[in-house]
């Protein structure tokens, strides 16, 4: 399915904004000559038992990141009695109107995707107690009119979907440290925000754990676990900057790179393919499946189960079992996990594979603390 | 070779620039085409040279109709043209400029200039042009650059040479030389079409005259016709060419400039140590060839030049460092040299242009609030007083003709209470009728006791208007002479030469 917006709008960079916009115009006009290039989001208007609706953020449905994952999860639940649809936003100002539209359409459940959409979802949940809501990457609590009341009050019709991705990233860090020949590995993020840095922190701590266990000195570039700061692109759409960061890491000797920047991982993987100096660990989804063009350099992927959790919420609603209790994706409930090594399996020593597997078991059991 | 036009017609939208024009230029004659600006002279010549295509009519060379669809065709037919603005590349040599577009290379692909140089030397010697093919064009005086253009036309075998306002850029001496050269060319068989609006030159050089007015041929006067007759034909009504000026005793000093230097941003000194006074009731004309520092001197007086030293005193007040706004309000009317660029805002209405420097004063504005009705009402009064021909004062200034534009500038500047009028090239590009009006206005300002400072490159204008004449050369005032000084002596001074008895 080809959609026009291939440029995730999540970048807050300004010219980025215009460029993207003009690219959009350009792409759209170019495509208009081909007219058939445009397809619409599938939907079934017929009234059915359950109507699950997604309110996406500005990344759009093809952001190759969590918007796409959420929509994938929702689509997987579509049956004769479950219809799914989404509304994408053009800017932050669209969130509230979009959610209102979904409420007016009498959606059975409205799932907000993205942290910025949180306030609008919370407001809507309070105003429409009869509608069920869920929010990805947030706790789903009401933190008061000034947003400063913590822990806040739970709402009976709003479910937070969160992910302990530091668990799987911890494994990835351990794996990277064991896999590295140069003794240097690296990570970078899109923005310095919790849903991103939780991966980077887990990764860096995984490397540190490897050093502790093995008595090695593998260096993790790009994230300082003490200062809570590191290397960031400053958005999710600047391919050139992501590529530059990847090249810098390679020049510093890193041979495993873990980009936590949605679709920008492609820039790093592309550099891995052309430079033959590094391998890439994909983020959010299994890159081997979602970005197969890079499969020859993907060591593994740190999967965040946005799709499965969204699908889970919709299935619960369909079964009449919706609960507002927050969801936390962990290794234990497969809400996050380390994907298969796929084509690179034979390059990963069997012993290392076993250690990583055992590490996962130890994290689940609480024997190894990841944070 | 003879050139004949039959009923050539060319229109631009509703405007008919050339209306059934017939013209016959015989073998070896200088044929002057006389007309005011906008009469259609240049359009006609652009048609002949192939730069414009006529809507109707025929062009015949030696009795045979030819089709000219571009300058290349014109050249092939033996028609050459020297434009008012030269088409030369300043950093190239004379030879390089002449071969441009017709370059020949030797077997190594290197530019072959020796033949061209030979040709240039031959033509130059034949007509006594004194042009060195190896000199850089930018180092040559304007008059010589014009000869380069003429040589180029001759080398490409032009038998009919069109000269478009050729004297506009020349000093009086250079003008005389050009007229002499035109006669030499004619005597050797080249026909010349000489476009001009200067009556003296026509009388001096032309064998035949065609007068064009509003796109039509209005007459073929004999070369013996008087200047008044020619001017009347051109304008379409009787014109007084001699400016009547009553004698008046100048009053006290109004403007006193001492040791003034003006530098440009790169530090070049354009005005050098200039000192002079202008008295009330006196017209001081600063004569000089374009580019000798007059423009900068005029601008410096009104505060438009940034890097100046020396002193400028108006009516006892030192205004040297004042802003333009303050200078104008201290009592200077300023008519800038380039009215299109500096004098008017063409997209503004005529009414707005009439208050360009008084818009924030009563009655036009009270505090920050402007009154469009008063602006329009006052504009009506001004345009009547200054005889500006227009449809509505709300039309844009761009819709006016050159003469009417200058009238708007004058109406604006002379309606303020001023002590000094500074006018740069006040009649440049204007037709005879408008020149007459502008001159009369300037004289009446002087008669009412104002000090007037005129900058002009036109000798006629200088001698007609001035009570005293300052001659500028290379940034200096090299002579301060009486208004009765002869044209010849003034011409020499403008070229930097002190004739006997004029050294001041």
């Amino acid at each position: 399915m080809v959609r026009l917006n291939q440029y995730p709008m999540k970048d807050m960079g300004l010219l980025g904004g215009t460029l993207k916009k003009s690219l959009r115009y350009g792409a759209v006009i170019a495509a208009s000559t081909l007219a058939f290039g445009i397809t619409v989001a599938p939907a079934a208007p017929a009234a059915t038992a359950v109507k699950a609706c997604l309110a996406l953020d500005t990344g759009g449905v093809d952001d190759k990141s969590f918007n796409a994952a959420a929509w994938r999860g929702a689509q997987s639940t579509a049956t004769a009695s479950v219809t799914v649809k989404y509304l994408a936003a053009q800017s932050d100002a669209d969130y509230a109107p979009n959610i209102k539209k979904l409420v007016d359409e009498k959606c059975s459940v409205i799932i907000g995707v993205g942290f910025l959409i949180n306030s609008a979802i919370v407001d809507a949940a309070k105003a429409n107690p009869g509608t069920k809501f869920a929010i990805v990457d947030q706790d789903g609590f009401d933190h008061g009119p000034n947003g400063d009341q913590y822990p806040g009050t739970a709402l009976t019709n709003l479910k937070g979907l969160q992910f302990a991705t530091n668990q799987s990233a911890f494994q990835a860090g351990y794996l990277a440290a064991g896999f590295s020949k140069t003794g240097k590995v690296a990570t970078y993020g899109g923005l310095n925000i919790p849903p991103v840095t939780i991966f980077m922190d887990g990764f860096a701590k995984g490397v540190a754990y490897y050093n502790k266990v093995k008595g090695k000195k593998v260096v993790a570039l790009g994230w300082d676990t003490v200062k809570k700061d590191g290397t960031f692109v400053g958005g999710f759409s600047d391919q050139a900057k992501a590529l530059q960061i990847s090249k810098n890491f390679e020049q510093q000797g890193a041979d495993v790179i873990f980009p936590v920047a949605g679709g920008l991982g492609g820039a790093t993987a592309g550099q891995s393919m052309t430079g033959h100096k590094s391998v890439t660990i994909w983020v959010d989804s299994d890159g081997y499946v979602q970005a197969p063009q890079y499969k020859s350099v993907l060591l593994t992927s740190v999967v965040k189960g946005v799709d499965t959790s969204v699908a889970g919420v919709i299935k619960d609603v369909a079964k009449g079992m919706f609960s507002s209790t927050g969801y936390l994706g962990t290794l234990a409930n497969k809400g996050t996990y380390l994907a298969s090594y796929h084509d690179l399996a034979k390059k990963v020593a069997a012993r290392l594979q076993n250690e990583v597997r055992q590490l996962g078991i130890d994290i689940k059991s609480g024997k190894v603390k990841v944070s | 070779m003879s050139l004949e036009l039959r009923a050539v017609t060319k229109s631009f939208g509703a405007l008919i620039a050339n209306d059934h024009i017939d013209l016959k230029v015989g073998d070896g004659e200088i044929h002057a085409i006389l007309g005011e600006n906008g009469a259609g002279k240049s359009t006609l010549m652009n048609v002949v040279y192939g730069l414009l295509q006529p809507d109707a009519g025929e062009i015949l060379v030696d009795g045979e109709e030819i089709k000219i669809s571009g300058p290349a065709d014109a050249l092939a037919a033996g028609i050459g043209m020297v434009h008012q603005h030269f088409m030369l590349i300043p950093v190239f040599t004379v030879a390089e400029n002449i071969v441009l577009g017709h370059e020949k290379t030797n077997k190594f692909g290197i530019l072959e200039l020796s033949k061209a140089k030979e040709e240039i030397r031959r033509v130059s010697a034949e007509f006594n042009f004194d042009v060195d093919p190896d000199s850089l064009v930018e180092t040559l005086p304007v008059g010589i650059q014009q000869r380069v253009e003429i040589i180029r036309a001759l080398i490409y075998d032009a038998k009919v040479l069109i000269l478009d306002e050729p004297t506009a850029v020349l000093t009086p001496q250079e003008t005389d030389e050009l007229l002499r050269n035109m006669k030499i060319l004619r005597d050797k068989g080249t026909s010349i079409v000489f476009i001009t609006h200067k009556l003296r030159e026509v009388q001096e050089a032309a064998d035949k005259i065609t007068v064009i007015r509003r796109g039509k041929v209005v007459g073929n006067p004999l070369v013996t016709a008087s200047q008044e007759e020619l001017a009347s034909l051109m304008v379409g009504r009787p014109v007084a060419l001699d400016v009547y000026k009553k004698a008046i005793t100048p009053g006290p000093v109004a403007l006193s400039v001492k040791n003034l230097n003006v530098h440009d941003i790169t530090g070049r000194r354009l005005v050098k140590n200039v000192t002079f006074d202008v008295h009330e009731g006196e017209i001081l004309a600063v004569a000089g060839v374009q580019g000798n520092g007059q423009s900068e001197l005029a601008k410096a007086i009104v505060g438009l030049e940034e890097f100046i030293d020396g002193s400028i005193v108006l009516d006892g007040k030192d205004i040297t460092t004042w802003s333009v706004h303050d200078t104008l309000y201290s009592g200077i009317a300023y008519v800038p040299e380039d009215r299109e660029h500096d004098g008017l805002i063409s997209s503004f209405s005529i009414a707005e242009n009439l208050i360009l420097d008084t818009f924030d004063t009563p009655p036009y504005a009270k505090g920050p609030v402007m009154s469009p009705t008063i602006v329009a009402r006052e504009a009506e009064v001004r345009v009547k007083e200054f005889d500006v021909r227009l449809q509505s004062v709300q039309d844009s200034a761009a819709s006016l003709s050159g003469g009417n534009k200058q009238k708007v500038v004058l109406a604006r500047e002379l309606s303020r209470p001023v002590k000094l009028v500074v006018a740069s090239q006040p009649t440049r590009g204007l037709d005879v009728g408008s020149i007459e009006f502008v001159h009369q206005r300037i004289i009446s300002e002087r008669d009412s006791g104002k000090a007037v400072l005129i900058f002009s490159t036109e000798l006629d204008e200088v001698t007609d208007l001035a009570d005293r004449i300052a001659v500028m050369y290379r940034g200096e005032i090299i002579a301060m002479v009486a208004a009765t000084t002869s044209r010849e002596d003034l011409g020499l001074l403008m070229a930097g030469v002190h004739p006997e008895g004029t050294r001041s």
Partner: protein, 388 residues
């Protein structure tokens, strides 16, 4: 009669351009609908289907921009919710559009409305959530702060140009980057973090600093639209009836002549950029205090860039700018509904916007399409603007 003819010639061209854009977009809507494409085997059904699809989409556009009968019961007034949304979307656009238009008239190309908008949003947000003031005073203080922040930000560009000749296009583009990354950084600092969160979202502004709703709590339309319209009237007065406007326009139309007439070009440049900045900043304030209530990294949206289109579409005239902004606001609000009701991709709204601009920017095209000879094209502000 003359007035009527003038009005027709002013509206006719943009109107026809809009119709042309709708027509071409209708084709795109039809061709992008898989249900329509399935009818391709039968030309009649295909054309019918295409009309139905485009009609449905445009009905949704109308329902999303002006009036939605589905929302009109039980309370008829609620049917105007879409109009309210249009006005909410248009308010900041009017203000940023005015910012660009004003600068345009003074011969300056203000690409920096984006950065100025951001600084206005920052100023309004800081006063809105950090300080405590009585109702009324608080909102005024927030607005004034926004205008001062953005005015200084814009005026700085004017000062640079006046003093050093730095071209405002380059400077404003660069300052847009500075503003957006400054905002990003600011949102990562402690005062701007909501308690317990590390997301780039500032605490919401207090109730006392919010612009009051104009039509009850259900409709989001707020005082912002009144502020925007008042600003448009103010800019119109400034440009056409004040001595400062005369100076601005004179410098814009011919800086050399303005200078010769004694107008200080550097002063005008600085002042115009400061006022333009303040207008864009007012837009940021209206956005934060009127509808968003919290500063986010994406708070700037594309208001500053859309403003350029809006100002061009409005021919750099304050009244034209208001209408262009309302059109864009309507397309924006209606586009969300079009997406929701008919599954038309939201990007198609961008296409319609682009097509409207394309058709208006190329009057020759519209004239050719409709075989108009005499229609007078408005003054050529559109084609100029790069003159320093």
């Amino acid at each position: 009669m003359k007035f009527f003819r003038k009005a027709v010639s002013t509206i006719a061209l943009p109107g026809l351009a809009f119709l042309s854009a709708l027509f071409v977009s209708g084709l795109l809507i039809a061709f992008s609908d898989p249900k329509v494409l399935k009818l391709a085997h039968s030309p009649f059904k295909f054309i019918g289907g295409a009309f139905a699809a485009a009609g449905k989409a445009y009905l949704a556009l109308f329902e999303g921009a002006i009036f939605d009968p589905n929302l009109a019961h039980p309370n008829f007034f609620d049917g105007f919710y879409p109009l309210s949304e249009t006005l909410v979307a248009a308010s900041p656009l009017i203000l940023t559009g005015l910012s660009v238009a004003l600068a345009f008239r003074a011969g300056l190309f203000n690409i920096g409305a984006q950065g100025q908008f951001i600084f206005g949003a920052i100023g309004a947000s800081v006063v809105g959530f950090k300080t405590t003031m009585p109702v009324g005073i608080h909102v005024i203080a927030a607005i004034v702060t926004a205008m001062v922040f953005a005015g200084l930000w814009g005026g700085f560009v004017g000062l640079l140009k006046a003093k050093t000749g730095a071209h405002e296009v380059i400077v404003t583009i660069m300052l847009n980057y500075v503003a957006s990354y400054f905002l990003l950084w600011l949102l990562s600092t402690t005062p701007f973090l909501r308690k317990g969160r590390q997301d780039p979202i500032a605490p919401p502004v207090k109730e006392s600093a919010r612009l009051p709703h104009l039509a009850g709590p259900n409709l989001r339309v707020n005082l912002g639209i009144i502020i925007a319209l008042a600003a448009a009237a103010g800019v119109w007065w400034l440009l056409n009836r004040s001595t400062w406007g005369f100076r601005f326009r004179a410098v814009g139309a011919n800086a050399a002549a303005a200078r010769t007439a004694g107008i200080s070009v550097p002063l005008v440049t600085t002042l115009v950029m400061a006022i333009a900045g303040a207008l864009a900043g007012l837009g940021g304030a209206v956005q934060i205090l009127g509808s968003e209530y919290a500063l986010t990294a994406g708070a700037g949206g594309t208001f500053g860039f859309d403003a350029i289109t809006v100002a061009l579409l409005g021919r750099a005239n304050p009244i034209g700018t208001v209408f262009a902004a309302l059109l864009f606001g309507g397309l924006r609000a209606g586009g969300l509904t079009m997406q929701a009701n008919t599954d038309t991709p939201i990007d198609l709204i961008l296409v319609i916007q682009a097509l409207v601009v394309l058709f208006i920017a190329a009057p020759a095209l519209v004239k050719a399409v409709f075989r108009i000879k005499q229609l007078k094209v408005g003054s050529g502000v559109v084609s100029k603007g790069w003159n320093g």
